[in-house]
């Protein structure tokens, strides 16, 4: 257990991301969203998750990736965070993968500062690189962007 870890994975365009499974509350198909006027553009809206109100954020935008061009519905990766439930909007959901600690590497220094906070590093999987997303980092980055 100490050197192997499970990740829930998803895609943003061609990039492959993973979040530790224990941080993920659930994964949902596209949900009806209520927009929040005056909020940061990263906030896409509010979702009713069985009575719990979850803030959906546009992960692409937060990571500085280009906006999607097609109209396919986005998937929700609902993660637990200190400030209540937050849903990360992503393009596609991948499998749950297991990665060994030995395959982990810190992000290259060339990554810009904002991204450094949100991407903890990469796992060098056989077929591709998996970005390890720091969910708290994503949200901290968010509050800074908002203020």
């Amino acid at each position: 257990m100490s050197d192997r870890q499970q990740f829930a994975t998803f895609f943003l365009g061609d990039s492959y991301f993973g979040v530790e499974v224990e941080r993920v509350q659930e994964i949902l198909r596209s949900q009806e969203m209520t927009p929040v006027p005056l909020s940061s553009p990263v906030v896409r809206g509010l979702i009713n998750l069985r009575g719990q109100i979850v803030t959906a954020i546009d992960l692409r935008r937060q990571l500085g990736l280009p906006a999607r061009t097609d109209a396919r519905p986005l998937m929700n990766v609902v993660v637990r965070s200190s400030g209540g439930g937050v849903s990360l909007l992503v393009d596609d959901i991948g499998d749950v993968v297991e990665a060994e600690e030995s395959s982990f590497e810190r992000p290259p220094d060339t990554l810009d500062d904002d991204a450094q906070k949100m991407i903890r590093g990469v796992h060098k999987l056989n077929e591709r690189l998996m970005h390890v997303l720091d969910t708290e980092g994503v949200l901290i980055g968010f509050s800074e962007a908002q203020s």
């Binding site: 209520t34 006027p37 005056l38 009713n48 109100i53 803030t55 400030g83 209540g84 949200l139 509050s143």
Partner: protein, 804 residues
């Protein structure tokens, strides 16, 4: 000894119980100071300390025990009359209570009663004990008997009483103890009797005491009765302790249930099946009752917070060398636990301010011709679904000149504005952040330490703070807060295709402009849109513009044929919010917004609508600030408001004025009004003789005010063929039942002190008053409902009868 990590249930129970006991002790000690001879109070204080001491000894907390022990000794001397209560003794005892409290907190945290040595405190308490009774205030016979045995008494007292108590903890109090506490028997007498028993006397304590002539047989009988009563009316059989977390969970579930119910109700409108509709109806009623029931479990009397104030005031007054008397009214006014928690600090702050800065020193008071003792008056009462709390003092009041100059000095307002602003707005300066950072301010202004914090905290829970003061006469701070935060009635409006909820407490009325009115009703003052509402200009705010919906849509809505204005109250100002559509009123469950959206002041939270989608709840105050209406309107309102503070301090009632059938003016207390509704005449149905209308999932009986007043009763008016096909109805709810009062026309809402009155003029009327310069009759709501439906009040009375 209990280990630090494994705090078991006994200890937990002990801490909870003792904490409650200590709070009671504080209160009792303060009352005792006012009434030093009360045997009852002394007895209750002694018992409380004794219980704490006994239990701590049993659990092995030695520090705690030793402190409680000296306290108990001191109290026993007081109880015997060997000592007279003096302020130093009260302070000493209060210090002991504090020490015990600190140690309890330490036990709760670390499992041990800490290492702090309370030797100085113990020393003080022991010294106090040794003091000779004050011969002036002590009656002589008590002194004679008790000083003699005082010396020997200390020891037996300490060893015997715990013995009795610990022998049978769960049993009713031993007879001997009851007699000792009642003062009929001396502790040393009891000790010798108990010794006699131990040495083999088979008789009971009471028998021996009577035989020895130490006590009258009747007194023993009395004590026996106390004993049996104590055994049967055990409180614990009627009460259980419930974890607040458990209640919160329950509350959340009920919230969910309300949502599900709303969803079903919405669905049921498309259904024909009568069984389904009936069941839905029942479900709806039961849900409402359940919701109210659960909410009640969370209600606590305001006394839980107030109870600490007499102690606080005493300590503060002593420290400032003042004399202050606290009076309370409406101690049992109930509030939701979360709200109670939230107002604790602001209230404490206000009390502190009142004693520290409001009430003057005795010499100053005397010079001003007031009684030496200052008066602090706390009052709480329910009004129109809200709780009002007033804190008044009869101190020096607020020096407005000083306040203004301070505000200028602090750069809060420019000099020229300071000269212009009215009295009322000057008071509001105190609430500005940054008004009082320096200590000097408190000396000069007399008030205002951290008042901005008080205001923010109260507003956070949807409340309002108002301050009135009259120089030389005192200051009153008035707080209005909602009963509960979890479920609130709200108006649902649509704007930009999305629904928003506006809390009903902020909603004053709805205005709908159509046709010509819509095109020309909205005028502008130098670009700012306004509407003439009954002769006064009402600032308007376009919700879509505030929320930055795209301007094309905003332009469109400005040229529509219909304009919906929700007249809202934010702080002490009114403004009109223009929305695209007004949907309905609904009970909504307030859910907090996530951490990520906390920074947005225009929303207080979100709720889930009947269709399962999320809607945002507007924060009316935040919205008003966002739109910039607040400061501007406030000033205008203030300039209109020329009534002096002293006048305003009088009792004022809020009335809803309406036109009576014979074209006179009538009114009903706004506190009796649950809601104002308009129904179309076609929606009125009949069950038997009763006119009813379907209303929010229930059947609302209608009562025509016209048909109830004496001279009209013979010719009751049904839905007459009037040109207007709408009826205006005042919904009045009592004991969970509602009735709709059909009135001709609603005129206005006014506040009045109802000074000029004439006795009852006719049936169904409480009396005539002069309101706004016109004679107005006030409707006797209970009376006319009783005439119309004598059973209206009955079922509930039956229910309460059973419950109590």
């Amino acid at each position: 000894m209990v280990s630090a990590d494994g705090m078991d249930d006994i200890v937990k129970e002990f801490i909870v119980e003792s904490t409650e006991n200590l709070d009671q002790l504080d209160r009792d000690l303060i009352s005792l100071e006012k009434n030093p001879t009360s045997k009852e109070l002394l007895g209750s204080i002694f018992r409380a300390v004794h219980t704490v001491k006994g239990t701590t000894g049993f659990l092995g907390y030695t520090h705690l025990e030793s402190v409680a022990h000296v306290g108990e000794n001191l109290l026993s001397r007081l109880r015997e009359g060997a000592l007279a209560l003096s302020p130093p003794i009260t302070s000493g005892l209060l210090a002991m209570v504090d020490a015990v409290r600190t140690m309890l907190a330490s036990i709760e945290k670390t499992g041990s009663d800490g290492d702090s040595d309370y030797a100085p405190l113990i020393e003080i308490l022991t010294q106090l004990q040794a003091q000779e009774p004050d011969s002036k205030s002590q009656d002589s016979q008590a002194t004679n008997t008790s000083t003699i045995c005082a010396a020997e008494q200390e020891k037996p007292q300490a060893t015997i009483v715990p013995d009795i108590a610990e022998e049978d903890r769960d049993e009713p109090l031993p007879l001997g103890q009851i007699l000792v506490e009642g003062g009929q028997v001396k502790a040393d007498q009891l000790a010798s009797v108990l010794n006699q028993q131990r040495e083999g006397d088979p008789r009971r304590v009471g028998e021996i005491l009577v035989a020895r002539g130490m006590v009258h047989p009747e007194e023993v009988l009395e004590a026996l009765q106390v004993q049996t009563e104590g055994a049967t009316s055990n409180l614990s059989s009627n009460n259980i302790r419930v974890d607040v977390g458990q209640l919160d969970k329950l509350m959340n579930l009920v919230g969910e249930l309300v949502l599900a119910r709303n969803q079903i109700l919405q669905f049921s409108t498309t259904q024909q099946d009568s069984t389904f509709l009936n069941t839905t109806q029942r479900l709806s009623l039961i849900t409402t009752e359940l919701q109210e029931g659960v909410m009640k479990t969370r209600m606590q009397p305001i006394e839980n917070v107030w109870g600490k104030f007499p102690r606080l005031v005493r300590d503060l007054a002593l420290a400032c060398g003042k004399r202050v008397q606290v009076e309370m009214e409406g101690k049992d006014t109930e509030l939701d636990k979360t709200i109670l928690e939230a107002i604790k600090d602001p209230l404490t702050h206000l009390i502190r301010n009142a004693v520290d800065h409001g009430i003057e020193c005795p010499s100053q008071r005397e010079a001003a011709g007031k009684s030496v003792e200052g008066r602090l008056f706390l009052r709480a009462y329910h009004e129109g679904g809200q709780v009002n709390i007033e804190i008044s003092d009869d101190g020096a009041g607020i020096d407005l000149v000083a306040v203004k100059s301070k505000a200028v000095e602090r750069g809060l307002i420019p000099q020229e504005q300071a000269a212009r602003i009215s009295e009322r707005e000057a008071y509001q300066l105190i609430f500005l952040p940054g008004f009082s950072t320096a200590q000097k301010v408190t000396n000069v202004s007399g008030r205002g330490v951290g008042m901005d914090v008080v205001k923010t905290n109260i507003e956070k829970i949807g409340g309002m703070v108002d301050l009135q003061s009259a120089a030389g006469l005192g200051t009153t701070v008035k707080i209005k807060i909602p009963l509960t935060l979890a479920i609130i009635p709200a108006l649902i409006v649509t704007c930009g295709g999305e629904r928003y909820a506006i809390p009903q407490v902020s909603l004053l009325e709805l205005v709908r402009l159509e046709g010509n009115g819509a095109r020309h009703g909205i005028e502008s003052v130098h670009g700012a849109p306004v509407y003439r509402l009954r002769g006064n200009l009402l600032s308007l705010v376009y919700l879509n513009r505030e929320l930055h919906f795209d301007s094309a849509a905003a332009q469109n809505s400005a040229q529509q044929d219909v304009v919906n204005i929700a007249v809202l109250q934010a702080d002490d100002c009114q403004f009109g919010l223009i929305v695209d559509e007004v949907n309905d009123t609904e009970e909504i469950v307030v859910k907090p917004l996530g951490e990520l959206l906390k920074g947005l002041s225009v929303y207080t939270g979100a709720t889930i609508m009947g269709d399962g989608r999320v809607a945002l709840i507007l924060d009316v105050l935040g919205l008003a600030q966002h739109a910039g209406v607040i400061s501007e309107v406030r000033q205008r309102k203030i300039s209109e408001d020329i009534t002096s503070a002293a006048e305003r301090a009088q009792e004022r009632k809020t009335l809803l004025l309406f036109q009576s059938p014979d074209d006179g003016r009538m009114a009903i207390f706004l506190s009796d009004v649950t809601r104002l509704e308009t129904f179309s005449r076609s929606s009125i149905e009949r069950t038997g003789k009763q006119q009813v209308v379907q209303y929010r999932g229930t059947i609302l009986p209608l009562v025509h005010v016209s048909s109830l007043l004496e001279e009209h009763r013979l010719q009751p008016r049904g839905p007459s063929p009037e040109t207007d096909d709408k009826v205006q109805v005042i919904v009045h709810t009592q004991n969970r039942r509602s009735v709709g009062l059909v009135v001709e026309r609603i005129l206005d809402i006014v506040e009045d002190d109802l000074a000029t009155r004439r006795p009852v003029s006719r049936e169904g009327v409480l009396g005539s008053f002069v309101v706004q310069g016109k004679v107005t009759e006030i409707l006797d709501v209970d009376g006319i409902i009783r005439v119309q439906d004598p059973t209206f009040f009955e079922p509930e009375q039956l229910l309460t009868g059973v419950a109590s």
